[in-house]
């Protein structure tokens, strides 16, 4: 989903430098380029509109805070998405919205599509928050199982099993829905 190939890294580094000096115009340009992707990720990881807004705001404030340390030869978006993901995970853990393994792939009937994430989460909306987060980070954002295990404080096998079982469950749901239409 990242479209970093077309990013002019040198130009982006100039924008970061100007934003560091207090340029609202440069900061607004960075925001307009990346806020959509950051917010979309936050929605997918939190499943909550208000929390996603908070995570997005927090991410751009972290950008201000750490502008001095951002490598000028690398695209900014992966850094922003990593910050947003970490912020979302921190919130999950603070809210203790973690699940035991056996509960992980149990479908939450109350959280069906039409919740805060709506169609942007699809079938994932039906799973507990931590499961959604792990699966999205693994499948779409390309996090390794090692990274997921470290960030969530579990083993790699926990991450592998969670993803595998959730994807199997999702396939079953799709088949059921297809049969229903047929």
């Amino acid at each position: 989903m990242d479209d970093t190939s077309r990013v002019d890294i040198a130009e982006e580094a100039r924008l970061v430098r100007r934003a560091r000096w207090g340029s609202g115009e440069a900061f607004e340009t960075l925001y307009s380029r990346h806020a959509g992707a950051v917010h979309a990720l936050a929605v997918r990881l939190t499943g909550n509109a208000a929390t996603a807004e908070d995570v997005t705001q927090e991410t751009f404030l972290q950008l201000l805070r750490f502008m001095d340390t951002i490598a000028p030869d690398r695209p900014l978006r992966p850094w922003l998405k990593r910050v947003a993901a970490n912020a979302a995970i921190d919130r999950l853990r603070r809210e203790r919205r973690t699940v035991e393994f056996d509960d992980a792939v149990a479908v939450d009937a109350a959280a069906d599509a039409g919740g805060p994430g709506g169609d942007s989460l699809g079938l994932l909306q039906r799973f507990p928050p931590e499961v959604r987060t792990v699966v999205w980070l693994r499948v779409v954002e390309g996090w390794t199982h090692r990274e997921l295990a470290a960030r969530f404080g579990h083993s790699e096998s926990w991450s592998k099993s969670l993803v595998s079982r959730t994807l199997s469950r999702m396939r079953e749901m799709i088949e059921v829905e297809d049969d229903g239409r047929g």
Binding site: S23, S120, V135, V163
Partner: protein
Amino acid sequence: MDEVEKQAKRYLESLDEPALPGGLWERVEGARRHRMRRRLGGVAMASVAALALAFAIPGGLGDRQDGPLLAESTPGAAVEAAAGGDADRIRSVHAIDRALQAAYDRNAADDEIEPLWRARQALMAAATPAASQSKG
């Protein structure tokens, strides 16, 4: 990534992109300006203390009798005027900080704020070698 994950990736990437909330930029921009004002306050305190230590001014920062007062709206002139003396340099930093604070408070344009920061940086950079010479 195995085939099951690839299929899931295609499915998840085909979902609707959530729309960016309209009022979010105002929230983020408000927080940025608040942060810039706070940062300015912190930087001002730290740099004045650093300059005072570096030049070890007799009478400390309270002595404002000598040297010209600076025009806050002309950062270039501030740097030039401060080139001669350490006390002047400290007053210049004070003046620029006040100008920056005022600029942030009235949501001044970037082309007004950025030269102030550059002038401030020039003053601080000029102070560093002088300080090391005075210690040597």
